[in-house]
Amino acid sequence: MRLLNRPLGRLSRHRRGPVAGLLVVLLGLVLTGGLYAAFSPASARENDSAAQIKSGRQLFLVGCSFCHGSNGQGVKTLDGNQLGPSLVGVGAAAVDFQVGTGRMPAVQLGPQVQQKEVTYTPDEIAELAAYVASLGPGPAIPTASDYSLAGLTDAQREEAIARGGQIFLTNCTACHNFEGSGGAMPRGGYAPKIRGVEPKYIFEAMLTGPQAMDNFSNGNLSVDEKRDIIAYLQSLQDNPDYGGFGMGGIGPVSEGLFAWLVGIGSLVGVATWIAAHTARTSKEKAES
C-alpha cells in the first residue's frame, strides 16, 4: 500500500490546483460515455426485437391501421374492394421498401401509390418492419452482402454484369424498359424508372413485388441472380452514353418524335429563312 500511497499522495497535492476540477469532470464524462458505448447497445440488443415490435405496433396503429387493419389483417370496403391488403407474411423487406421509399403511408387512393418524401425516420421504419415481420414469416431486409459485388475479381464482376444484363432483359425489360427507364401499365399504372434507385430497394422490390409488380422471390431468381441484375443496372449508370445524348432511353417513339419535331422542324425553319424576303429600304441608290 505504501507503494501506491506515494504516487497518490503526490497526485493529491494537486487536488486543489486550478484545472483539477475540470480534469475530473472530463475524466468522468469520458468514462461514462465510453462505458455506455461499450455495454449499453449490447444489452439493448438483447430485448431489441421485443421493444422494436412494441413501439412498431404503436406506430402502426397510428399510421397504418386505418387501411391495413389494427392487426395488419387488411381492410375491405363495403363493395368488396380491398382498401389495404393484408400484411401478414409480407415480411420486413416489404415494409422497408414501401415506407423507406416514401410510397407508404399512402396519401390518397389512385391507380398507383406515388413515391413521395419519406415520412418516418430510419429507426421508426425498422420498428414498423419488425412489427410487420412479427405478423407472419416473410422476406427479411436484405443485407449489403446480398447485393454488392465486393470481393469479386474484375473478371467475375464482368461476368456478373453480363449475366445480370441477360436476366434483366428477359425478366424486367417488358415493364421497366431496356435501360430501366420505366414504362406505362394498364389503367393509369406505370412501372417506375429503376436507374439510380438504391440497390437495397431494387432487391426488396424484386423480393416482395410492390403494388401490381410480380415478385421474384429467391426461389425464382436466386440472390446471386438478383445481385447480377443490380450490378447491370449500376453499370448502365456508370457507362457513358458513347453514341451521344440518349434522351432518357425511353425508346424508339421518343427518338422518332425528336427526329420529326426538332430535326425536321429546324429544317423547315431554315428553309423558311432561306426563302424569306430580304430587308428592303425606301432609299434610292445613288447613281454612280
Binding site: A174, A212, D214, N215, F216, D241, F245, K283, A286
Partner: protein
C-alpha cells in the same frame, strides 16, 4: 387561230404571245433596293458578317481535326457530361462548319450578290403542230417498214415470247417456299419433332417429361421454390442441352432462335382459388400456370403481368390476356386466347410439360382459318 386552237405565233421560237389584255397591264412596281445596296456602311457590315461565318466554318473544321487527335476512344473513352467526348465534339465541330458555310452563303446571296429583277414571260408547254405531226409520221413509218402489220406469224410469236418472259419472275416466287407443312402446329415442347441429335441427348437423360427451366440460366424449377405472385420467364430444357463429349449446345444458331421464338413460356403462381376456368385449373400445378410468351396478335414476346389481376399485357398493341381464365382476350387486337401449356411435376419434383401446346402458338396464319 389554227384549228386546234393553238396560237400560231409560237411556231418554232419561244417568243411571248402578243395578246390583247382586257385590263391594261399595270407594269412592275418600282425596284426597292436593299440597305446593303444603298448604304456603304451596311454593305461593309454584311461583308464582315459573311466573312466571319466563313472563318467560323474554318475554325469548326480545325476543331474537328483537333477533336479527332485529342479525344481518346476505345475501352476507356474520354467523356464530357457522361457523353462520349470524341463523338460529341466531332459532331458539334462538323455541325458548326457546315452551318457556318451554309449560313454564310445564304447571307452572301441575300445581302451582297447582284439584285436584278428579271421578267420571264410564260409560253405554251406543247410542241409545235409540225413537230407533233413529224413524230407521228416517224412512228407510222417504223410500223410499216418493220412489216409487223403484214406478218401476223412474227407478230404473234413475238407476243408469245414476251408473255413467257413475264412468267419468269412468277416462277421464281417458288423460292419463297417450301410450304411450312405442319411445322407451325408444333413447338420444341413436342419431343417427337426433335432432330436426331436432340433425340440422342434425350435418351441419355432417362426421363419421359421435358422440364420447364428458367430462361437465361437454364435451371429446373421446383414447385416449392415459387411463391404466390412469382413470374418466371421459362424455356423448354432442351434449349440448354449440352453435348456430353463436345460440351457444345445441341440447339444453336438459327434453329435456337426459331425454336425460342415459338417455345418461350411464362410461369405465374397464383392462389388456386383465383383460377377461373376448369382447364386452367386442371393444367396448373398448385396454382402455377404456364402460358405461351408469344402474343397471338403479331407475335411480340409478352411478359407485362399484373400480379394483382393476373392480366398479361402485350407491349406492342396492348392486347390483354387473363391468365386465370384460359388466357382469354380481355382487350386489344388479339383474336385468340393465349395458348396454355399443360404442366405437371416429374419424378424428381421439377415442373415439366405434360405435352406440347394443343394449338399453334403465336399469330394466326392462313391455313388456320
Amino acid at each position: 387561230m389554227a384549228p386546234d386552237n393553238l396560237p400560231e405565233t409560237t411556231h418554232g421560237d419561244h417568243t411571248p404571245v402578243a395578246t390583247h389584255e382586257p385590263i391594261p397591264d399595270p407594269g412592275l412596281p418600282a425596284h426597292q433596293w436593299r440597305p446593303t445596296d444603298v448604304d456603304p456602311k451596311a454593305e461593309r457590315r454584311a461583308e464582315r458578317q459573311v466573312a466571319s461565318l466563313f472563318v467560323l466554318a474554318a475554325l469548326g473544321a480545325v476543331g474537328f481535326i483537333a477533336s479527332y487527335v485529342i479525344f481518346k476512344v476505345g475501352d476507356n473513352p474520354d467523356t464530357i457530361a457522361n457523353l462520349g467526348a470524341s463523338n460529341l465534339m466531332l459532331g458539334l465541330c462538323l455541325a458548326v462548319t457546315l452551318l457556318g458555310m451554309g449560313a454564310g452563303m445564304i447571307q452572301l446571296a441575300r445581302k451582297l450578290m447582284a439584285d436584278h429583277e428579271i421578267v420571264e414571260m410564260r409560253h405554251p408547254a406543247a410542241s409545235s403542230q409540225a413537230d407533233r405531226e413529224a413524230a407521228v409520221d416517224i412512228l407510222k413509218t417504223g410500223l410499216d417498214e418493220s412489216g409487223l402489220g403484214r406478218r401476223p406469224l412474227i407478230r404473234n410469236t413475238l407476243l408469245a415470247a414476251g408473255g413467257v418472259l413475264g412468267l419468269l419472275p412468277v416462277v421464281m416466287l417458288r423460292d419463297l417456299g417450301p410450304l411450312p407443312g405442319d411445322k407451325l402446329d408444333h413447338t420444341i415442347w413436342d419431343i417427337d419433332t426433335w432432330t436426331p441429335e436432340m433425340q440422342a441427348w434425350w435418351t441419355t437423360q432417362n426421363r419421359t417429361l421435358q422440364r420447364v427451366v428458367r430462361d437465361v440460366v437454364g435451371t429446373p424449377i421446383k414447385v416449392t421454390e415459387l411463391e404466390i405472385g412469382d413470374l418466371v420467364n421459362a424455356e423448354p430444357e432442351v434449349m440448354f442441352a449440352v453435348d456430353a463429349e463436345t460440351k457444345q449446345p445441341i440447339v444453336e444458331g438459327t434453329q435456337l432462335l426459331v425454336d425460342k421464338s415459338k417455345a418461350a413460356v411464362i410461369l405465374h403462381r397464383m392462389l388456386p382459388s383465383d383460377i377461373v376456368s376448369a382447364q386452367t385449373l386442371n393444367w396448373s400445378v398448385d396454382g402455377i400456370v404456364c402460358y405461351s410468351k408469344i402474343c397471338t396478335h403479331v407475335g411480340c414476346p409478352i411478359s407485362l403481368n399484373e400480379r394483382t389481376t393476373h392480366h398479361l399485357l402485350c407491349p406492342c398493341h396492348q392486347s390483354t390476356f387473363d391468365l386465370a381464365d384460359s388466357g382469354r382476350v380481355l382487350f386489344g387486337p388479339a383474336a385468340r386466347a393465349l395458348p396454355q401449356l399443360q404442366l405437371t411435376v416429374d419424378d424428381e419434383g421439377y415442373l415439366a410439360a405434360k405435352r406440347d401446346f394443343t394449338e399453334p402458338v403465336g399469330p394466326s396464319f392462313w391455313e388456320r382459318g
